[in-house]
Amino acid sequence: MKFSDEFETRFAEMITHYPTKRSALVPTLLYAQDEIGSLTGEVIAELAQRLSLTDLEVRNVISYYSMLTTKPRGKYNVQVCTNIACMLVGGEDLLDHCKKKLGVGNKGTTADGLFSLEEVECIGACSWAPAVQVNYDFHENLTNAKMDQILDSYKKKGTQ
């Protein structure tokens, strides 16, 4: 199991921040997922061993947090917020538009593995609604036309 040097440096520093090793678990899982693509059995076993936990204890934590996943997502995870503030100004239409444009349903991944689509809860962009996060990048005050441009630009980036 090999993580990047950046991951290792961060991990080594992080575990000195807490009186118990397992405290580093939640952020470490997310950073690991970002590198590997999903929390595979191998990742789980590795982190469990490093933090003196059982695999089951790690899986138990993974299943609680909505960002953590044991199944791979697309290279670009398009997360459309449909919570109240976004809903009032077209969040649901935007989600439908993305479904059509990408040809997948909620939590689906395109055949080329480039995009996955997810309806998400409030992402803290209420005053700039409707909003979407693609991986960690925020896109706000969206229209269907703007969304098309955004998806096209990721597609270009991802197929280069």
Binding site: H17, Y18, P19, T20, R22, S23, A24, L25, V26, P27, L29, L30, L51, N60, V61, S63, Y64, Y65, S66, M67, L68, T82, N83, I84, A85, M87, L88, V89, E121, C122, I123, G124, A125, C126, S127, W128, A129, Q133, Y136, D137, F138, E140, N141
Partner: protein, 439 residues
């Protein structure tokens, strides 16, 4: 990067450095940065606490508890280490203020944590940033690194002989973790299951040590209070509601945005003047005044000062500052359903009333909205909500119950209009699956 707005009625305290490049530590220093913590070092713990108490600062996460009072509950002597924990796990629908604070003024949060640590005698602080806010975590990581590099954190801060460490921590997606006991569980590397209280975190918190937990906005206000003084700060607001707060205006408004206004600013004015009123010539239908968990207000109820006590008197809560505005095209049943869908998704399942209640409510509201409602559903929706209130470890059950009860109470007619197989009168029939009727 979230865009900034402005209005002449704003009083900029927390947002003073927004757009000023204050993420850079040298720029922050030019803008009076790290002066408050040095002043606090000379004041001593009791003086800091009494200054914050007198400022009338109340928790900006939603509960509105006196910050100085909260700090005073931490025992002076403790065998276990004490901690300060900054709650930056912003996730209440309608709320997007902490994002701006972390994006534009991360050192103010660090300085706030430092002052809180001095007040309660803690030597370690944590700044918890929600997982989705990765770019803000990056900003915070750099800010902490820069503060260490300047010698503001670590051993013997500002030559005081005191050691103080502050670390970042990131979440991974969970609304409930914004609740203080669940936040501690999450920081300890566990599922965010709430803890029963008492004991309160001020006595038994992180790893069993006394812990002060404050919202990021609350902590960002603290350096300004120490520098400007309690009297100045308290006078910005109304009696017992000191200072200003960031109001996040969203929904059907001409000029949505995050505005810093004095506590007690009139809600009607906030909607029609600051927020620019309702677009497209529509009328106001309802306002959720403080994030999705707060009971809805009708147009005739919004001539109210936005402070904790006045909004409570009006039958709702000031909450987290998320003002969500609905115009007359919005369907209340659908709005109630979307709100409940959120709480059902976020309920951790630890307390049965919340786990079962939010699930039954989502099913019932979903069927009801789709046109499969029966008359007794309306009372059932109220009854199911009432049975979650006050019956759970953490306030997530209350947060789901309170708005739902208000929707039924204030918009019963609209619920009735959905009856007799009639689909939502506000939109084309939905194709939601038919869910069971609660016997």
């Amino acid at each position: 990067m979230a865009s900034l707005v402005s209005h002449p009625d704003e009083v900029r305290v927390i947002s003073k450095r927004f757009g000023q490049g204050a993420t850079d530590i040298d720029r922050y220093l030019e803008l009076d940065g790290y002066k408050a913590v040095q002043k606090a070092l000379g004041m001593g713990a009791d003086a800091i606490i009494s200054e914050v108490k007198n400022s009338g600062l109340r928790g900006r996460g939603g509960a509105g508890f006196s910050t100085g009072m909260k700090w005073s509950f931490v025992p002076k002597e403790s065998a276990k280490p004490k901690y300060v924990l900054c709650n930056g796990d912003e996730s209440e629908p309608g709320t997007c203020k902490d994002r701006l604070i972390f994006e534009h003024d991360p050192h103010a949060v660090i300085e706030g944590v430092m002052i809180a640590a001095l007040a309660v005698g803690a030597r370690t602080g944590y700044i918890y940033v929600r997982g989705e806010y990765r770019y803000l975590l990056v900003i915070m990581q750099k800010a902490l690194k820069d503060a260490y590099a300047k010698g503001f954190l670590g051993k013997n801060i500002f030559g005081s002989g005191r050691d103080l460490d502050i670390y970042w921590h990131g979440g991974a997606g969970a609304y409930e973790v914004g609740e203080e006991s669940a936040l501690m569980e999450s920081l300890e590397g566990k599922r965010g299951i709430p803890r029963i209280r008492p004991p309160f975190p001020a006595v038994v918190g992180l790893w069993g040590g006394p812990t002060v937990i404050n919202n990021a906005e609350t902590l960002a206000a603290v350096p300004h209070i120490i520098l400007g003084g309690a009297e100045w700060y308290s006078r910005l607001g109304t009696p017992k509601n000191g200072g200003t707060r960031l109001f996040c205006l969203s929904g059907n408004l001409n000029k949505p945005g995050v505005y810093e206004l004095p506590m007690g600013y009139n809600l009607k004015k906030m909607i029609y003047e600051v927020g620019g009123g309702i677009p497209n010539g529509r009328e106001l239908k309802a306002v959720v005044p403080g994030g999705s968990s707060t009971p809805v207000l009708l147009p005739e109820e919004i001539d109210v000062p936005m402070d904790f006590d006045s909004v409570a008197k009006a039958g709702s809560m000031l909450g987290s500052g998320g003002v969500v505005v609905l115009d007359d095209t919005a369907c209340i049943v659908k709005f109630a359903l979307r709100t409940m869908k959120f709480y059902r998704h976020e309920s951790c399942g630890w307390c049965i009333p919340c786990r079962e209640g939010t699930d039954w409510l989502e099913k019932t509201l979903s069927r009801f909205h789709a046109g499969g409602g029966v008359k007794k559903d309306i009372d059932n929706i109220y009854y199911l909500s009432e049975n979650m209130l006050g019956k759970t470890f953490c306030p997530l059950g209350d947060a789901a119950a309170m708005p739902t009860m208000a929707f039924v109470k204030k918009f019963r007619k609209e619920f009735e209009d959905h009856l007799d197989g009639k689909p939502c009168p506000f939109e084309k029939a939905g194709v939601a699956e038919q869910q069971p009727v609660l016997a």
